[in-house]
Symmetry: C2
Subunit: 575 residues, 2 copies
């Protein structure tokens, strides 16, 4: 059976299964969510109103046996940034939806009353059901309850209280194989699902399977691809230490934003580093390696236990640890793990929320280093929607406006993550020009600026950064369409067999003959589609700028400011 | 002595008295503040950072005996809207600054430490002084304390707690002849003064006088001008009932936004009307007529006493009464007067704050009609800066974002005032195209749409509204430059002797020979200067739109939506 569009109209509570328009056939993941949002959403609409749509799309290879192909893309107009938005995540949902023959779910409209709903996807299609029991509950309660309601192989996409309250940092939580959570984190897409009064989407795909046009070619390519991933030294480091291997590396580079972006190094970096985390995990009988979806051969996730050797969190990422650690000066990994667990349960972006806490610390709401205070605000304020909870739950820009703070690290109102653009200038270009607000994953120049992957570009120089960011943003848009985890990029940049084998898999899946140029063109087309949406929404090149303070306040240890001109930034779009 | 620029640098705490550049010589009031802001402020700067400037300028005729010439203009980049901003106000400061030979005060930079300051203007120039006693105090305490510190004819411009806390709706408060307050209300300019850590500006002008090039011609023109004002029936109605004469008129027209803009008529309109207010004032030994500055012959202000015949408030405006009255469904004039007094003391815009309360009511923070609740939030939350106080104190858009409300009546993040654009379409063009966010005073089409002044344009038709708003916006920009109160416009539109006599006064003041065309050109130049600033700040025609809900939700009694297209709105700038 050909893949279908599952369309859900929340205004009249109807669903339909539609053929995939020819224009959308070659797209998956981010390419498909952005194409659909651009085609069907009025760019100037209110992101939490009935004219926005939430689009969910597995990648082109999702549901196959291709290694690391379990990413699911979520797209909408973002309530945080006002731009087009794609957030993607691991977990089991992408593979399960793909096996149901679901090319994308499009959720539109908005119910009139106060009722809440859930959606259920199965071989029979998609249904809308009223939901009462789980309203107000955290994401972990959703998974526990669904485990009792459904067969034991269910998948789920849910929102916590933050999404129900339409907080602008609310995320989407996706169940992993061990009933832990992965997050479609950035841009407040959980608030969009909340605005449509959908608490969760459950998936039953017991029987489904993805068809392959050429099974043998696919399997051969997958073996080559898998070997490239497994042999890559960065893949191996990610497996051992998780993404948190970066704390010591970025601190050494002087680009670890500390104390609300007033220094590039954190005295407490050893206490929160990947190495310390690894030792702690091993000592407490946790798992340093853990996969967020079947078929992942990198396994950057982990199971982090508390001091009593009880499960605390997984998918404990560098950016989350940096944000509450260095940026809020909390040098205690257990407090950060506790906050990470709370944020997963509440359903709120760890980067946006912790950077917002750093701005709140600058405003004097709580003291730098007060990790207990952060956990208290998460539990007592954000989870229940007090006014303080809403200020912080709406992100770093929200805190800045409420408290008159001018040192607010955001681009297009989205918090700047774990790499200071003054000391690592390539990533500053990505923050400025990304179609989705500040987001390191849109064009991860750290690879080349710091890790020496895909060549080398001096992080402190102005030279070459625009080109670096542009090439990576184009490649990323394409990778985000395949269902592949972005961490395949390290192998793709340095192992000449990796990218061709990925393209071979796509060709073998669909019986087509894409070339490397086709993939590059796909990336460029996606970026241009997204950019056009933003221009139609009223954004200009003036929005492609870093906050003023980066140009005015040098940071230690390099004593550097952001010094790439607006004119130079604008050349990004010369392609 | 020629007029001078008083420049205050808060970074190094220095002042200088400068000659007026030739380019600025023909400007006053809004024309001068906008010209200076456009010349000296980087459009993309953070409005609460050290690169913004607060400019204060009397009008061209301020300080003379010209009737109604006591307006003072304040300009900056607005922290509420991000646009260029001019707010003007009555009170005594404009006349006193003009008599000191002050063409404008330019306040720039920002002090490094935590100290607060005041500025003092006198015949000796301007000084910066550290201030401790009045920090944290309300505006009335400032005036009381200054009355003890200074001679009894001092003037003052101050901020309350809202401005100190840099809330985005903080206003500037200007002392009137009876030590009551007038407000430079909109756009958060009080937060800009707060960001520069200036609590107040005091003015001593005991000895000053404005020179006239041709005293006899001036006096003759002033007699003609004054007669035109006094004879005008709308001037007379404003004198008797204040601006609040409009409650019944706008309710009858079906354009009185009610219950957060969900109806065009308010059941409780009689209880809050100008007629009821007049009867109450008379019954309680108040004053129906009161002037905010010497020389005002309209006297739209009043002294409103409480039930114990004690002073409660003055300058009790239609828009303030509408906002807490109809928009929040509070049909109790005494509660509205109490809130008006509190907002004056806290130093926060009555329109923005009350519209924000209406959005908070829709969010369920308090119930529609709960006037006691509004007063409690003002006293307990906004005055002390609790998180709820900061959410509401940062305006209607802030409340909408914090609580996920989509029916948020703002343009460029500034609250839409007391005239529904669905039922009075000309004012919708003004809200959309104004260079300063939604503001009825920028081009008061109510005159022609409803009051039959300057002709007649059907308020419910799409025809002629762009031209009407354009002509009025051009004229208003010019009037706002003269120091004249906008209420001269009724006479100017309908009495052929009014405008020529105003121009004659300007010519006699400066020894020049402006024509009516020159004045129109001045207005057009000001609008274009302001518009260019906004474009350079990143605004586009997409920002010149009303919120989505106006096009989707018809309101009673006319059952009409906003139906003027973006293309038609954009023709506004065809001049």
């Amino acid at each position: 059976m050909a893949d279908k569009i599952f369309r859900v109209n929340m205004t009249d509570l109807s669903t339909s299964i539609e053929d995939v328009p020819a224009d959308w056939m070659g797209h998956g993941g981010r390419g498909l969510t952005s194409t659909i949002v651009a085609a069907e959403v009025e760019p100037t609409c209110h992101p939490l109103g009935r004219n926005n749509k939430l689009v969910i799309a597995p990648g082109l290879l999702s549901g196959t046996t291709a290694a690391n192909s379990g990413r699911l893309s979520f797209g909408a107009k973002s309530p945080l940034t006002g731009t087009i938005k794609e957030a993607n995540s691991g977990g089991t949902a992408a593979q399960m939806l793909a096996r149901l023959g679901c090319k994308a779910i499009i959720i539109e409209g908005m119910p009139k009353g106060d009722s809440w709903y859930n959606l259920h996807c199965s071989a029979d299609g998609i249904t809308i059901n009223e939901e009462t029991e789980l309203i107000g509950k955290g994401n972990f309660a959703v998974i526990e309850t669904l485990a009792a309601r459904l067969n034991d192989r269910f998948g789920s996409i849910s929102i916590g209280p933050a999404g129900e309250m339409q907080m602008l940092s609310a995320n989407l939580s996706i169940k992993d194989p061990d009933s832990h959570l992965r997050s479609g984190g950035r841009g407040g897409l959980g608030a969009v699902m909340g605005s449509k009064r959908i608490k969760f989407i459950s998936i039953d795909s017991t029987d489904g399977k993805v068809a392959l046009a050429d099974k043998d070619a696919f399997n051969a390519a997958n073996r080559t691809f898998t070997k490239a991933l497994v042999d890559n030294p960065i893949s191996q480091a990610l497996g051992q230490y998780g993404t948190n291997v970066l704390v010591n590396i970025i601190n050494e580079a002087g680009g670890l934003p500390t104390r609300n972006f007033t220094s590039g190094q954190f005295d407490g970096h050893e206490e929160i580093s990947g190495e310390t985390m690894y030792d702690t995990i091993v000592e407490r009988d946790g798992k340093p390696k853990h996969n967020c979806h079947k078929g992942c051969v990198i396994q950057c996730s982990q199971v982090y236990n508390d001091a009593d050797k009880k499960y605390k969190t997984s998918g404990f990422e560098y950016e989350s640890i940096w944000a509450m650690g260095a940026d809020c000066c909390v040098d205690n990994l257990d407090l950060i793990a506790e906050a990470d667990h709370l944020m997963d349960d509440i359903g709120i972006d760890t980067i946006e929320t912790s950077v917002a806490m750093g701005v709140a610390m600058e405003a004097g709401v709580l003291a730098f280093g007060d990790g207990e205070g952060i956990c208290r605000i998460l539990k007592e304020d954000i989870a229940s929607g007090t006014p303080l909870g809403r200020i912080i739950g709406c992100g770093a820009g929200s805190v800045g406006r409420a408290y008159g703070v001018t040192r607010v690290p955001v681009v297009k109102n989205q918090a700047i993550p774990a790499y200071d653009p003054r000391a690592i200038k390539g990533i500053g270009i990505t923050y400025a020009t990304s179609t989705q607000g500040a987001d390191h994953t849109m064009g991860y120049t750290i690879a080349t600026n710091i890790l020496g992957v895909g060549g080398s570009v001096d992080p402190l120089s102005r030279e070459g950064q625009v080109e670096l960011s542009r090439n990576l943003q184009i490649a990323t848009a394409a990778i985000d369409s395949t269902g592949m985890c972005l961490f395949i990029a390290f192998a793709a940049l340095d192992d000449e067999k990796c990218l061709p084998s990925l393209i071979d898999m796509i060709n073998a899946r669909f019986g087509i003959s894409l070339t490397a140029d086709d993939v590059t063109n796909l990336g460029m087309t996606i970026l241009k589609t997204e950019h056009a949406f933003n221009l139609a929404a009223g954004f200009t090149n003036k929005d492609d700028r870093l906050p003023e303070f980066f140009s005015e306040e040098p940071i230690a240890p390099h004593n550097v400011v952001w010094d790439i001109s607006g004119e130079q930034i604008d050349t990004f779009w010369d392609f």
